[in-house]
């Protein structure tokens, strides 16, 4: 758990980058700080790993004040991914992944095993990629290595500063949908920074909207979008509101009971997860030749169906609001 308590960062010349910010990030959640550039989100993240020093306030990591820890061991205990990847160009992919383990003194065989395991996890075959240099990889592959590197020493917390910001839209979407389930499954606490509201609602368990060094509102993506607490938050979504609502309105409450045996199923039949959004339901219905799509939870248990009728009604509701 990360606790920021009345945190302020002032730069010389009385520039306040972070202004009396309080925030609690829960264990195992993905918390996304979203805001325009210059709103203080990157500074906030760098305060957590002490790349930037606090002016006032306290930050606690699992109850321990971070200023009481050695800053180097603090950083080694937190995963860190940045927008420009920052892989070491003179190290092989494997050595890049093993940087933190090397710093904390793991032996070579352990690092090698761990690197192969992680490369596989992020979708790169170790046989092919371990001995290559970052300059030989595409931007998307480099950031996969960047994520593997952050996971290397198995940190509980990972800080990500616009990790997919420099990628083209298609690669970005692939990485979002492939990598975020990965750190969710590993139960990592993730602090994720982005200026892209779509990325925020897609990835975040909770989001925090930032402006001028302050957090304006925190909450589940759907709640923040449905009930913005003030003008600034609301203007941040402005013209994308409808799209964002389609994305964040979960189908969970719309599931209807239906006899499972009456569902025609083959391997091409689309299905949904209760956490999927309306937009996913629309996609699934489009390819379904039935007027309904079955819903299964993470353990593949059958929950019911989503019907064409319900989705249409819900979309009409959104339009009317």
């Amino acid at each position: 758990m990360i606790l920021l308590d009345h945190v302020t960062k002032k730069y010389p010349g009385d520039v306040t980058a972070v202004d009396d910010l309080s925030l609690e990030i829960k264990e195992g959640e993905t918390f996304v700080l979203v805001g325009t550039s210059g709103c203080g989100k990157t500074t906030t993240m760098k305060l957590i790993n002490r790349l930037v020093d606090l002016t006032s306030g306290t930050i606690k990591l699992d109850g321990r004040d971070i200023t009481s820890m050695d800053s180097y061991s603090l950083r080694r205990s937190l995963g860190y991914v940045i927008q420009n990847v920052g892989l070491f160009p003179h190290f092989t992919v494997e050595r890049n992944v093993g940087v933190v383990p090397e710093l904390i003194g793991w032996d070579k065989t352990k690092i090698h095993t761990r690197a192969s395991e992680l490369l596989t996890m992020v979708g790169l075959s170790p046989e092919e990629f371990a001995v290559r240099y970052p300059g030989e990889l595409s931007g998307g592959q480099q950031q996969r290595v960047g994520v593997a590197r952050a996971l290397a020493a198995d940190p509980d917390v990972i800080l990500m500063d616009e990790p997919f910001g420099a990628l083209d839209p298609i690669t970005r979407e692939t990485l979002q949908s492939e990598l975020s389930p990965l750190w969710n499954e590993l139960d990592k606490t993730v602090v994720f920074i982005t200026h892209d509201i779509f990325e925020a609602v897609k990835i975040g368990d909770r989001i925090g909207v930032m402006d001028n060094g302050k957090i304006l509102q925190t909450g589940r993506p759907a709640d923040v979008i449905k009930q913005p607490e003030n003008e600034t938050v609301s203007s941040f979504f402005a013209q994308h509101r409808f799209q964002l609502e389609l994305l964040t309105t979960r189908i969970e409450p719309l599931v209807e009971a239906f006899d499972e045996s009456r569902i025609k199923r083959d391997k091409n039949t689309p299905w949904l997860h209760p956490h999927d959004g309306l937009i996913d339901a629309m996609d699934a219905l489009k390819i379904s030749d039935d007027q309904k799509v079955p819903v299964y939870d993470s353990k593949k248990r059958y929950l019911g169906i989503i019907s064409h009728e319900t989705v249409t009604r819900e979309i009409l509701n959104l339009i009317e609001q």
Partner: protein, 210 residues
């Protein structure tokens, strides 16, 4: 041909002397210039002054520089070595400074963010990545010094300059060439060897997009 056979042993001796006049100042300049260059990247406020001073030294005409050294160190090898050392300092110092400062900021931030100490960052990241630029500085300095070292001949420090100055005094162009051609070949050979060393020292960066 007869001339060449007759002068050959002397050319060889003078080349060895010349090599000595080059290697010692370059070695000393590398041993001092690289650490000082590294320190300058940490203490930016004095870097301008130090690099400025080194540039001023570089602008002193070489004949004058050698003249300045004689009252301080007397006629002979030590004066020549000091003068040549001063000339080789700037390229090495400046290239170390720019090489280290030129390392991609994202790479530095990643290193710091992963918990490298300043020392680890320098040894594992900044210096290895700056090797090509530092080596380029050493190569530049070497070529400059091989050329200027011929002037050591007039202050009794030996080297291939001796042949050239004898040739000038005797109006014998064969003798001048006997000094000048080996000096040029020496410069090319050293540049080539240092280029090889540079590639060996820059650990595998095949296909690096630069």
């Amino acid at each position: 041909m007869e001339f060449l056979i007759q002068i050959y042993p002397e050319i060889l001796d003078r080349t060895v002397e010349h090599l000595y006049l080059t290697a010692v100042p370059i070695g000393a300049a590398a041993l001092t210039g690289i650490p000082v260059g590294v320190i300058l990247t940490r203490k930016i406020f004095i870097s301008g002054k130090v690099l400025g001073a080194a540039s001023v030294i570089q602008t002193i005409p070489s004949l004058a520089m050698i003249g300045f050294m004689i009252p301080l160190f007397g006629i002979g090898v030590p004066a020549a070595l000091v003068a040549l050392y001063l000339y080789s300092l700037l390229p090495i110092l400046r290239n170390t400074f720019t090489g280290i400062n030129g390392v991609d900021k994202a790479v530095i931030e990643a290193g710091r963010g992963m918990g490298m100490t300043d020392h680890q960052l320098l040894m594992k990241v900044q210096l290895p990545l700056a090797v090509p630029v530092i080596m380029a500085g050493i190569r530049t300095a070497t070529v400059i010094v091989v050329g200027i070292a011929t002037l050591a001949g007039i202050m009794g420090a030996g080297g291939l300059g001796n042949l050239i100055f004898q040739g000038i005094a005797m109006v014998n162009s064969d003798l001048i060439l006997a000094g000048a051609i080996p000096a040029a070949m020496l410069a090319l050979a050293l540049d080539f060897l240092l280029g090889k060393a540079e590639r060996l020292l820059s650990p595998g960066r095949k296909g690096d997009k630069e």
